[in-house]
Symmetry: C2
Subunit: 348 residues, 2 copies
């Protein structure tokens, strides 16, 4: 394990994307958005994904200079066509548009099609916070690892939801979760770290638990609350996929196996202006109260304290900003292989 300053990693990513013919402006943006996940400790969705992105780009499966367009628009809604660009750039645009519209009408729902993996959902759900808004992000996951409840054919992804709520003196409350007990990214990290998975993450076709992440191909993820998580994954898939004309169900290609076919990833970003309901200062003060009230609960045996969603990420962000982002040897090696092949400065 080794820690790297975030600026060094951002620069590393930027140089790689520049070599792959991304514009300077976009490369700067994407590198920051990718590293933001790592700063918050979401190491499954940050620089760890770069080799995958690069492979897709070099094999022709992603457009380096997309013409991102609003193809349908009303006062409080829009549908964006991402032109097969990298998800980060498209979702940043979607967030900005949602914020702009919500400022005018109170709420906005922006759908996205023809996008790609965009990293951690919290990155985009948090964007409206700067403008005194709540942010909600939905997405169709980039590979199907979940069958409908009671089934064994993987027709659904871990379709995640992220919700971000601004606060006053406390960190914002940020929930960013797959609708399965774990994300497939965590399975990949477990495999990369040679660690076993707990029971409840995955099961095989007979319903037996899978604990070795190297056997992940023999089964599938388990939804939260059984049929309820299946229901949520399905609904998020319909709202972020079907409704946007994006891939859902059988149309979702596995972005870890097929690097050529357009993924047509769908996302949604909702921005909700707090002032539509109550004065902003009153609301954020109330959210600090919510923090204190939840923290006031006595704990169960085996738990030392109550955590709020996003609390850990907040403190990891402070630590990683100061001390740097930790990468394991496997990841560093993979990144440096790419750097060498593209003749870019490697990570030391």
């Amino acid at each position: 394990m080794k820690r790297y300053n975030s600026k060094i990693l951002e620069n590393f990513i930027k140089n790689i994307f520049l070599k792959l013919n991304m514009s300077n402006k976009d490369a700067l943006k994407v590198s920051k958005l990718i590293i933001q996940s790592d700063l918050y400790g979401v190491n499954t969705h940050g620089i760890f994904r770069l080799p995958n992105y690069v492979k897709r780009i070099t094999e022709g499966g992603m457009n380096m200079n997309p013409n991102i367009k609003v193809i349908k628009e009303r006062q409080s809604t829009a549908l964006l066509d991402g032109d097969n660009g990298i998800g980060h750039i498209i979702m940043e645009k979607a967030s900005k548009l949602a914020i702009k519209k919500a400022k005018k009408t109170g709420v906005a729902w922006v759908g996205v099609k023809n996008s790609n993996h965009a990293g951690a959902g919290a990155t985009y759900a948090m964007m409206p916070l700067e403008k005194n808004m709540v942010g909600i992000y939905l997405a169709v996951g980039s590979a199907n690892h979940l069958p409908p409840w009671g089934g064994i054919d993987m027709l659904l992804s871990t379709n995640p939801i992220a919700i971000a709520i601004p606060s006053q003196f406390k960190p914002p409350i940020v929930l960013d979760m797959a609708t399965t007990n774990t994300s497939y990214g965590k399975v990949k990290v477990a495999a990369s770290n040679n660690e076993n998975m707990p029971i409840g993450w995955m099961q095989d076709e007979k319903g037996n638990p899978i604990t070795n992440p190297k056997n992940a191909d023999q089964g599938f993820l388990i939804p939260i609350g059984g049929p309820k998580g299946y229901g949520l994954a399905l609904m998020i898939g319909i709202l972020a996929g079907s409704l946007n004309g994006a891939a859902f169900g059988k149309n979702v290609i596995d972005f870890n196996k097929d690097f050529k076919t357009t993924t047509n990833t769908g996302h949604v970003l909702i921005a909700l202006d707090i002032e539509s309901f109550m004065p902003f200062e009153e609301f954020i003060n109330e959210i600090d109260n919510v923090w204190n009230i939840m923290k006031s609960s006595r704990t169960m045996e085996g738990y030392s304290n109550i955590r709020l969603p996003g609390e850990n990420r907040h403190f990891i962000f402070e630590k990683n900003t100061k001390e740097g982002i930790e990468l394991n040897e496997d990841t560093i090696n993979k990144l440096n292989q790419i750097a060498k092949s593209l003749k870019v400065q490697i990570l030391n």
Copy 2:
């Protein structure tokens, strides 16, 4: 067990509310909205709740002639003050307003405060379907039965979410779920039926399962996916409660124990106009495809077929409409006690 025609039950409820000084117009509406839950087989949220409603009304905890007002309004948002009326009437108004606004701008988010229990969330999530929209309902539950994850103080409710998606020839897809493995209503029905609860529904302060619903007071509900369900319950509570100036956390009074204090229940209704994203006909055809694709999955041992959210309710609706709504003896006795005390025609 005995089956009653829905019209007979509607009339029964209407007569009771008329005796309690509700207007004829509202009594007609509420009785239909309550029985709609029973028609769909959601027997935990229908006429089963009437004794509770009546107790609250007679003890002065609910306003029979509320002045429901829009107290904040923008193009795509509104905040309704329900003036402590029964939730059904308030949420019907909220749904209508959301639909009207979404028709103009594409999406609307209507928050509600000073409301009360409104029955099943699906009732309101389904209202936008008639206008070619998606409906989403959020609410703060009417009693705290859930601690924050790792805690033992019940500061959260089962805060439910309902999402309804229109279809073409298939039944609509309707998810209506608590963010706990079960709703407290199901615990009460189990108690009323003298049935044991499965492991996973409730646990005590040491984390041991509770299976006898008569011991429900000794523990609390378990959230779906552990900390994820806690996170969802918290976020729904903030959006439907805090943001609307409605009760959340310590302010939630237990509507099964305290019948005098104003509950200040909060709800949210979101209406999303499908035509903002794609032609309606194309979308509902696609939803029928989603049905067929999910149904196409091979099943796991022990499962005979794949179900879509709302599939069961749809077929129960058809059966109950034809054959009547089934009530158990305990419920019939409780309802008839009320009828007798109010000098209203009893159920035979």
